[in-house]
């Protein structure tokens, strides 16, 4: 049981006196000191983070970092050992039903009833929240590209179709908060793009806060404006993507004339502002302190080298992620 059971804050307001900061949107999700053990293994070791209301937030971490466990605890599927959780301003799991009325969720693989059709699954499970109409069910099926498979048994769906139905179910009641666990898992590239567009559309049209875990870092970077990165059951970084990426370094690709590579390799690491230099596919990739690229160019020319190209590389979440998590090779 968590310590949040006494919380009686109103759900509708969404305001959290303890966590609100001036000028910052009030949080849709707040997690404080969350702990969970499975036998000897500590899945969550004092996790904390908050997701601002209205954000599209990514939840990143290596395999076994505790992402799915966190989502399970947040949604009341399993009890936490300690810690506090608040969703839309009220405590979980004390106000579980009130929270779930306003939250659309997909946790791990969606496992609806195999012998029911996609339509029947949405209709029955959806009716357990509040009454739904046939039109609304067909609308979400159409939006997730499942209109033609509506009457087909769920057991015959492909992995990607099952995933779409999971997302369709999550958005059925126009929730204030969408919690999605790897929503594009098993989808083809086209499906991923459609899903991204769909989530953007829902966010823009309905103003829903979206909190999604994903192992596709470029996807998160394209979709999310906020990220929470976890590792070993702890938060290692959280904030707006723009803030996280700008901090620290820029990456540039430097190409020099043929035969000058060795001299350039010797010179580059010693130049002021260069944080790292590694051979790239057609030259070198250097990490720089922000705003130093011109000086590097000058220094190379000054040393008699012919710089054939100096190309800025877009800062990627992947680099930040790899730097922050120690099992960086596998960001899933």
């Amino acid at each position: 049981m968590t310590r949040s059971e006494g919380s009686t804050a109103p759900l509708a307001g969404g305001a959290l006196p303890s966590a609100s900061r001036a000028g910052v949107p009030s949080p849709a999700i707040v997690v404080r000191d969350l702990r969970k053990r499975f036998g000897r293994r500590e899945a969550l070791a004092g996790l904390q983070f908050s997701v601002p209301e209205g954000a599209v937030a990514g939840f990143l971490g290596p395999n076994g970092a505790g992402k799915t466990t966190t989502l399970r605890l947040l949604l009341g599927l399993a009890p936490a050992d300690a810690g506090e959780m608040e969703i839309l301003g009220v405590g979980m799991p004390a106000h579980r039903t009130a929270v779930l009325e306003q939250v659309g969720a997909l946790v791990e693989k969606p496992s609806f009833l195999d012998h029911f059709s996609g339509f029947d699954n949405l209709w029955w499970f959806g009716s357990l929240n509040r009454p739904v109409t046939r039109e609304r069910v067909m609308e979400v099926l159409a939006r997730t590209g499942l209109a033609e498979a509506a009457g087909q048994a769920f057991g015959t769906y492909s992995t990607g179709m099952k995933q779409r139905l999971g997302v369709a179910y999550a958005i059925l009641h126009r929730p204030r908060l969408l919690i999605l666990d790897e929503p594009t898992n098993g989808m083809d590239p086209q499906g991923r793009v459609q899903m991204r567009d769909l989530l953007r559309e829902i966010h823009a049209a309905e103003g829903a806060t979206i909190f999604l875990s994903s192992h596709l870092l470029d996807e998160v970077q394209r979709l999310c404006d906020y990220v929470v990165i976890v590792d070993h059951g702890r938060t290692v970084r959280e904030g707006y993507v723009a803030d996280i990426l700008q901090r620290g370094r820029e990456t540039w690709e430097v190409r020099v004339a043929d035969g000058q590579a060795e001299r350039a390799a010797a010179l580059l690491p010693s130049l002021p502002g260069v944080l790292a230099c590694r051979p790239g596919p057609r030259g070198f990739e250097i990490s720089l302190e922000p705003g130093r690229s011109g000086l590097v160019n000058q220094a190379l020319i000054g040393a008699g080298l012919t710089v054939t190209a100096l190309i800025p590389k877009e800062a990627s979440l992947e680099e930040t992620f790899l730097a922050l998590t120690d099992n960086g090779g596998d960001p899933a």
Partner: protein, 292 residues
């Protein structure tokens, strides 16, 4: 409340969508129904050919015998059905993951346990009532045909009611209440497993062991009366008493009623066990982590 009712309806639809449910319905009803049809046909044919045949009251006796057998056989096979269907509905759904989707909707966990119990009990009652209704229908048809002018013969006056209405209602209520404890028992076992087959297997072994002990206890009690005292704590003892031929026959003949001590006492104890099992099942389910 509407949400709870929707949940119950949903659980009923799920029970009806299971092949196991239809197999059970068939297994329970096919023998009494076929036998009663044969008896009815023979009765009508013999009458129709003017061969005299057997009296209407004999047909009533035969159908009544089938009815008692139907009730007793029902109590005998229902545990197997309950173990399979509750195993599927709780352990199976937990294993397959659809329980997770259910618990991501704003329904209370206790409502899930109760809805599953209600759905399976309603099906069980419909299944047993179907046989009873069909047997009664048999007698009505026989009576109507006998009385029709086309068949021109004297009707021996005999009761057309298979069961007096009050007796029928009492048997129905008795079946329902005595099955509550069984449903609760299986619901408790379903909390520990994500495999419906394992759950059904283990719970039936426990149930059968208990019943074997209950049957052995009178003999063992000769050695030491404490064996008999232990048997008093086996809930299957109360259930077998309630579904015995003597009890069913007694209620049919209106010698017994729900308020008779021979019926009321085991019923009260059975209901006590039902309350205990349901409380344990709900408590366990509220704390059950859903990891699939």
């Amino acid at each position: 409340m509407p949400r709870f009712l929707t949940l119950i309806r949903f659980e009923m639809v799920k029970v009806l969508a299971r092949k196991k449910a239809f197999l059970f319905l068939l297994a329970l009803n096919v023998v009494p129904l076929l036998a009663s049809i044969v008896a009815l046909l023979i009765y009508l044919k013999l009458k129709g050919w003017g061969l005299g045949g057997f009296e209407f009251s004999v047909l009533v006796e035969m159908v009544r015998g089938l009815f008692i057998a139907h009730m007793v056989v029902f109590a005998w096979i229902s545990p197997f059905f309950l173990a399979l269907v509750i195993g599927d509905s709780v352990s199976g759904e937990a294993g397959r993951g659809s329980l997770k989707i259910l618990l991501l909707t704003p329904v209370e966990r206790w409502q899930v346990v109760v809805a599953k119990a209600v759905a399976v009990l309603v099906f069980l009652m419909l299944a047993v009532a179907l046989g009873g209704f069909f047997l009664q229908l048999d007698l009505w048809v026989a009576r109507a045909m006998t009385e029709s002018p086309a068949m021109r013969w004297d009707v021996k006056t005999a009761s057309t009611a298979l069961v007096e209405t009050t007796a029928a209602l009492q048997l129905f209520v008795l079946s329902f209440l005595s099955h509550l404890a069984l449903v609760g028992f299986f619901l408790v076992f379903a909390q520990f497993s994500e495999s419906p087959i394992m759950m059904a297997f283990i719970s039936l072994i426990v149930l059968m062991t208990m019943q074997v002990y209950v049957l052995m206890a009178p003999h063992l009690a000769h050695l030491d009366p404490r064996f008999g005292q232990v048997a008093d704590w086996c809930f299957t003892r109360h259930l077998s008493k309630l579904s015995s031929i003597e009890t069913v026959q007694g209620i049919l003949d209106q010698r017994l009623s729900l308020w008779h001590p021979d019926v009321w006492q085991p019923l009260r104890d059975g209901l006590g066990w039902a309350a205990f099992f349901f409380a344990v099942a709900i408590l366990l389910f509220r704390r059950r982590p859903i990891l699939n």
